[in-house]
């Protein structure tokens, strides 16, 4: 037998042979096995044992080909429906021992539940504990994740089934937070065209939009005098028909610019759906509290305020969900159609007489304008000019006289 001097244990050697040993230990085991006769013997025994076990073979299935009828039937009934054959179902099951145990147990549980509910109904007023329970009810209340469902509307829009769009009310009514099984993509595209026949192009654009069940989100037409007309429109086209619509639009003129993009909103949608479900659950619980419990007016008002707040949040989320669904179902195509611009010839210049007359009129206008400007200046600046003149008149006269007298004195000195 193997002694304790071996760097690897017997179990480890077995795990190594089974391919279940960690790499570092497996390297050590392989190295040790190369030169240890005892371990080689054990390894040989274990291998032989596995070979011997393989001697026990089972006979082949008699009906190896094809799927059995029972399974085919179960596949027809799926998912999750109990099979009607082979097992004892219906009222007879109650006669079995297990049926009696289960039936009795269920009856006791129902009785206990009923008595508990009655005792709860008798509670006359809310106490602090109940109020604190109420305050704990927040939108973050977790909801057990339910089984995934397929949103035919949204997925259909992605898969080319825009006609089968499920209405928003139906989705909201179902109240089941499902997980879309294909990515939800909000598609966007841009197209800039230049055309010679602007009016015809516009009519054709509207025709294409109608044919593809789309609608005009926004439209703007500008017609500057020194340039061609420009039409800028935001078109909403069912996502599966975007490619076809774009191909038709491109035929309307010369393509100057084209772009396409997609934003995956699956996660956003799933989050929104989960929050919405939580919100509804909270609202339901609050309504239940309001219905089943009586208390002070103040407490009742608190619950009603909370319900109002939750309802507001639910409505906001429903609007967001609707908008998100619309973004996925309808692609946004920003289109610009430019008209090719043709410069017009200059008209004939006016006659010389007209030009003299125009010059005379201009001269008269200039004189009148000048006089008006002077008058306006005097009126606006006159009072302040008069004021400053009155203030500065006497000092200026005094200074003037002083200078004059000094000059006179100097002249007399020179003559002396």
């Amino acid at each position: 037998m193997i002694t304790h001097n071996h760097p690897i244990e017997q179990e480890e050697l077995m795990a190594y042979l089974d391919g279940e040993l960690a790499t570092n230990r497996a390297i050590a085991a392989a190295a040790h096995l190369e030169h240890c006769a005892e371990c080689q013997e054990l390894a040989a025994d274990l291998r032989k044992l596995s070979q011997e076990l393989m001697a026990w073979e089972v006979e082949e299935l008699e009906s190896a080909e094809g799927t059995p009828i029972a399974i085919k039937a179960a596949l027809q009934d799926r998912p999750g429906k109990p099979r009607k054959t082979k097992t004892r179902l219906g009222w007879r099951i109650l006669l079995t021992r297990r049926g009696l145990v289960w039936g009795g147990g269920t009856a006791v549980a129902v009785l206990l539940l009923m008595s508990f509910s009655i005792s709860r109904l008798r509670v006359p007023e809310w106490n602090d504990k109940q109020m604190s329970e109420l305050t704990r009810v927040k939108l973050a209340t977790p909801i057990p994740q339910q089984e995934p469902t397929l949103h035919s509307g949204l997925i259909g829009a992605n898969n080319g089934e825009a006609g089968k769009l499920q209405t928003e009310e139906e989705q909201e009514g179902s109240d089941r937070p499902g997980v879309p099984t294909v990515p939800m993509i909000a598609r966007t595209a841009g197209l800039t065209l230049t055309t010679k026949e602007f009016d015809k192009t516009r009519a054709a654009l509207e025709e294409i939009l109608k044919r593809h069940n789309g609608y005009m989100g926004e439209l703007k037409v500008s017609a500057p005098s020194d340039a061609g007309r420009t039409l800028t429109a935001t078109l909403r086209i069912p996502a599966p028909q975007l490619e076809a619509a774009m191909a038709e639009l491109k035929k309307l003129g010369r393509v100057e610019d084209e772009s396409q993009g997609g934003e995956e909103v699956t996660q956003e949608y799933v989050d929104l759906q989960a929050r919405l479900a939580n919100g509804k659950h909270t609202e339901q619980r609050l309504t239940e509290i309001l219905r089943t419990r009586t208390g002070k007016l103040q407490d009742v008002l608190k619950v009603e305020l909370e319900i109002d707040r939750v309802r507001g949040e639910i409505e906001q989320m429903q609007a967001e969900k609707k908008e998100l669904s619309k973004r996925v179902a309808f692609a946004t195509l920003s289109t610009t159609v430019k008209e090719e611009y043709f410069a017009r010839l200059q008209p004939t210049p006016p006659s010389t007489g007209s030009r003299f007359r125009n010059a005379a009129v201009d001269g008269y206008n200039t004189v009148v304008e000048g006089l008006i400007d002077v008058g306006l200046f005097l009126l606006s600046a006159g009072p302040s000019l008069l004021l400053w003149a009155a203030i500065l008149f006497f000092p200026a006269r005094w200074a003037w006289k002083k200078i004059q007298s000094r000059k006179r004195g100097d002249a007399e000195e020179e003559t002396v």
Partner: protein
């Protein structure tokens, strides 16, 4: 399995084709009746179909299927509760044919502790990893390893008489050939 959950019948048929024989083998080696083994293999798939909506990909499909199979086996054993025909332990197969070898193995396995036998069989016949066995039987991986080792060593000792007979037969045959 997830494809089947999403409604793909082809996915189920692939699953059925891949695991039908192994599941039948699982029940056949643990039950005396061939018909019951076949029925229970089928029952496993029916349970998969019924529970598909609740399926969560927490484990490998193989582990999931053998988990169901183990539960069905436990129910079946409870039903039989000792009425199942046992292998004759006193009968020692003398010849060295494939049938006799299989009988030797079965007898040796019968002598093992039930828990250790299950681990050994899951490893040898169902080819499950230590981790998968641990998950199925809700045991720590190290426990699975040590029990597996114990059961292999015990099985080796139970198969010793067979080895002796084999070596004796082989020696006699060689002697005859030489003479």
């Amino acid at each position: 399995m997830l494809k089947f959950q999403r409604g793909s019948r082809e996915a189920f048929e692939e699953l059925f084709a891949r695991y039908r024989e192994p599941l039948y083998g699982f029940f056949r080696r643990r039950l005396a009746s061939k018909d019951r083994a076949e029925d229970l293999a089928q029952e496993t798939f029916l349970a998969v179909i019924r529970a598909v909506v609740r399926y969560e990909p927490r484990a490998l499909v193989k582990t999931y299927l053998y988990g169901i199979a183990l539960k069905l086996l436990a129910v079946e054993r409870r039903k039989l509760s000792g009425n199942e025909p046992q292998i004759d332990e006193h009968h020692e197969p003398a010849e060295d044919g494939p049938q006799e070898q299989a009988l030797w193995v079965r007898q040796a396995l019968e002598k093992l502790d039930a828990g250790e036998r299950e681990i050994l069989m899951l490893r040898e016949y169902e080819q499950l990893s230590y981790e998968e066995i641990a998950e199925l039987l809700r045991l720590p991986v190290n426990t699975v390893r040590s029990r597996l080792f114990r059961s292999r060593m015990a099985l080796k000792s139970f198969l010793e008489p067979k080895r002796k007979i084999q070596s004796r037969t082989r020696g006699a045959a060689e002697g005859e050939a030489q003479s």
